[in-house]
Subunit: 193 residues, 2 copies
Amino acid sequence: MSLRHALMGLLAEQPASGWDLTRRFDDLLGTVWPAGHPQIYRELRKLQDDGLIEMDSEGPRGRKAYRVTKSGVEEVRRWLTSVEVDHTLRLEPVLRSVFFWLMTPEELTAHLEKEAAFYHDLAEKYRELAAAKDRGEYGDSPQTRSIRIAAEAGIRLHQALGDWAAWTQNHQPGPSEDTAAHDHDQPHTRPGD
Amino acid sequence: MSLRHALMGLLAEQPASGWDLTRRFDDLLGTVWPAGHPQIYRELRKLQDDGLIEMDSEGPRGRKAYRVTKSGVEEVRRWLTSVEVDHTLRLEPVLRSVFFWLMTPEELTAHLEKEAAFYHDLAEKYRELAAAKDRGEYGDSPQTRSIRIAAEAGIRLHQALGDWAAWTQNHQPGPSEDTAAHDHDQPHTRPGD
DNA sequence: GGCCGACATGTCAACAGGCACATGTCGTCA
DNA sequence: TGACGACATGTGCCTGTTGACATGTCGGCC
């Protein structure tokens, strides 16, 4: 149940409405933690009931902005520092790879090409975002620096997945021996990070 | 709903019981698609009702082994080739990073150290698994080659996450300018893959 | 013969997440 | 003034996931 904490974390930056938070999830957190507006509005009400957030202001069109309370911030910090990290990774593209042997080489080639392009494109987008931040386009606060860190994860993860798809092109599981290239090319090399 | 397809895919390799499948999920697919036994048993019954799998044999202790039917295999292939890939990535560790600015440098340093070690260890485990497979310890079938591909994803993903945690140590979001190292070290370099 | 650990299958309740549907407001442009 | 698109909040239902609980069998060892 990380959603509660993510919402409070965002509210710790500045007061926001359900609508604001929905959009931030869409274009900032959506990649690592999708959340639709029904879920967000419901969670906000619960958080308010629990006294972790409170109404900040009411605006036009019934807009309700919330701010995080003192105990809310405490709870986020408790989560960040004392709650065991959930390392669960649920990744359909990798799950599928276990069953690649059920696809024809043609199907698989086409599939991998799309996957590599998709992930490399995404990595590129995060790279651009990071570059813009590094140029100072989003200012320089602890908050934006944290987002910069998350963007770095986006770059590395999607790059890794794209590279993996490309690597798999040369390692397809066909019935014949010679289909799979032999390992004069390294399975995986680490950059001198 | 990838679980159905994953179960059928595993059954396409060889007949298996709910117990067998539970263990395979635990130690093979658990990292990319967790599934407990209640879910698996329920799904197996549904699959049987839908005629996608059928009873193969009954063993001691009420053991029921299933095999996939012709239409089951077709369905898996349809999923692999015609169903849009779900690229959803739900990764709590990255979500947390957006809120790193709420942690003290000491807390964050300790956190990142643990994370880096955790992921690098995992990457190493996958690297060993891959090496064993490459030495021929698991034989050489299209199925084991597919698993080899999934292991490669495990290596790259966890390595990327471990590297990311290490990189973040030098890019912590503190209030002061000088806390963050400046970028004579590259944000991200790609290996010549 | 009795105990234990691995094998094996299930139910139930609670919760999280996703999708479709419903409702209403404000600003702007034709 | 009427239409439209962005703003804004919500309900209801269905599915998927998780954890706790429950039950029973088989093989091997003491």
